[in-house]
């Protein structure tokens, strides 16, 4: 098989790759940036899930936005794509579990994904939508873990 035909075969997957990378990256940056300037609010949003002990939930609330922004940046520039996608994907899985758990226990909370969070009226909850969105984003992460090679990535420029 010649070099040329190999490139042709990889073109579409590379394009899908860059799309999934940007979706995952932008969602993470957006989510992180919305929370990073109000750590107290973020901590309270995590506590509203009533899963982690009080202090630990606080630490997660403080750290999570920072991790989201940094991993999102790595994905957008395409550096260490596979490792970043693993982290991003695990975050999404954790969010899906957390939201499902809140739903199953009958809590009425906002997921706090993009700021906000905490208890809201039962009629305002959007669990199915939040879970579907996170599944979609997790699928992007899964693609990148399986096939981290994408178009326009720093990985490609730096490491070949």
């Amino acid at each position: 098989m010649g070099l040329r035909s190999h490139w042709d075969a990889g073109r579409l997957p590379d394009a899908i790759g860059v799309l999934t990378r940007l979706i995952l990256g932008v969602v993470l940056i957006w989510a992180g940036a919305a929370k990073v300037t109000s750590p107290a609010l973020s901590a309270r949003a995590v506590r509203a899930y009533q899963i982690l002990p009080y202090d630990l939930a606080g630490y997660v609330g403080y750290a999570l936005p920072v991790v989201e922004v940094l991993v999102g940046l790595l994905l957008v520039i395409g550096l260490f794509t596979r490792a970043s996608a693993v982290v991003g994907g695990l975050l999404m899985v954790a969010f899906i579990i957390g939201i499902s758990s809140a739903w199953a226990r009958g809590l009425s909370i906002d997921c706090g994904c993009f700021g906000g969070g905490g208890t809201i009226a039962a009629a305002q909850t959007q669990y199915p939508l939040e879970i579907l969105r996170d599944i979609g984003v997790a699928a992007c992460a899964a693609w990148l873990v399986v096939r981290p090679r994408t178009a326009y990535s720093l990985d490609h420029h730096l490491f070949g």
Binding site: P39, L41, S42, V66, L79, G116, F159
Partner: protein, 245 residues
């Protein structure tokens, strides 16, 4: 040399690009440092929880938060109501309009022991400090023996638009409305302007979160959350009667 051969030679040579291990280590270090800094900054704004905060008159145990609103102790068989409110919460304002008079009547008759937890989490949502300010002011009013009166005055003047808050002039006016006068008013003013109970206010918020109270208003009857069962003042009065031993 054929142009084709040049490419092949270049491709066969060992890569001279940057070392992924070093770059990876640097990025990992940046992430770890950023996370640690975020946790330190986030935790620094929290209350110490040392119990060293100046407790207002009528405050329950330091780690529980809340102020007993009964001017005269409730009857020994009276149940306990724990009311969690934020002075900036519009639903709390509606709750006070609907339930406040009945609760006040029961408190005055000693039929119920009322513990009010003045929360301040809305300051973070609304990016202001009116919840903490008014919570401190009502704690100062408790020192003057006018907790419920001041509490009622604040809710009566709650702005129609959430986040508009209360002016300093209003906060002083509430003291007049509550009937704080003379030397007590001087003490109240000193207490308010110095933020004497500011740490207590933070501790109250922390205690409520630890108790799993994530929204306002929340009303607990003998520790059980009955907020969602309340439709009319009568529904509250009935439950209080049932809980009376």
């Amino acid at each position: 040399m054929r142009p084709d051969a040049k490419k092949k030679i270049a491709a066969a040579a060992p890569k001279k690009g940057p070392n992924p291990v070093i770059i990876g280590a640097v990025i990992a270090a940046v992430v770890i440092v950023a996370v640690v800094v975020a946790i330190v900054i986030g935790s620094s704004g929290k209350s110490g929880g040392t119990g060293a905060a100046a407790q207002p008159s009528g405050a329950v145990a330091a780690d529980a938060g809340g102020i007993v609103a009964n001017a005269v102790p409730a009857k020994s068989n009276a149940p306990t109501l724990d009311l969690y409110e934020d002075f900036q919460c519009p639903v709390c304002g509606q709750f006070e309009k609907a339930m406040g008079p009945s609760i006040t009547t029961m408190v005055a008759a000693g039929e119920v022991k009322l513990i009010v937890h003045t929360l301040s989490f809305l300051d973070d949502n609304l990016k202001n400090d009116f919840s903490k300010k008014t919570a401190n002011a009502v704690a100062c009013a408790a020192d003057a023996g006018k907790f419920l009166e001041y509490h009622a005055a604040v809710f009566a003047a709650q702005p129609a638009q959430e986040g508009a808050g209360y002016t300093d002039a209003q906060i002083t006016e509430f003291a007049n409305t509550a009937g704080i006068t003379g030397p007590a008013l001087t003490t109240w003013q000193r207490c308010t302007s110095s933020g004497q109970h500011a740490q207590y206010v933070l501790d109250t918020q922390t205690a409520a979160e630890k108790a799993g109270v994530n929204s306002t208003p929340t009303l607990k009857l003998d520790g059980k959350d009955i907020t969602k069962t309340l439709t009319t003042p009568e529904s509250l009065i009935t439950q209080v009667k049932l809980a009376t031993k």
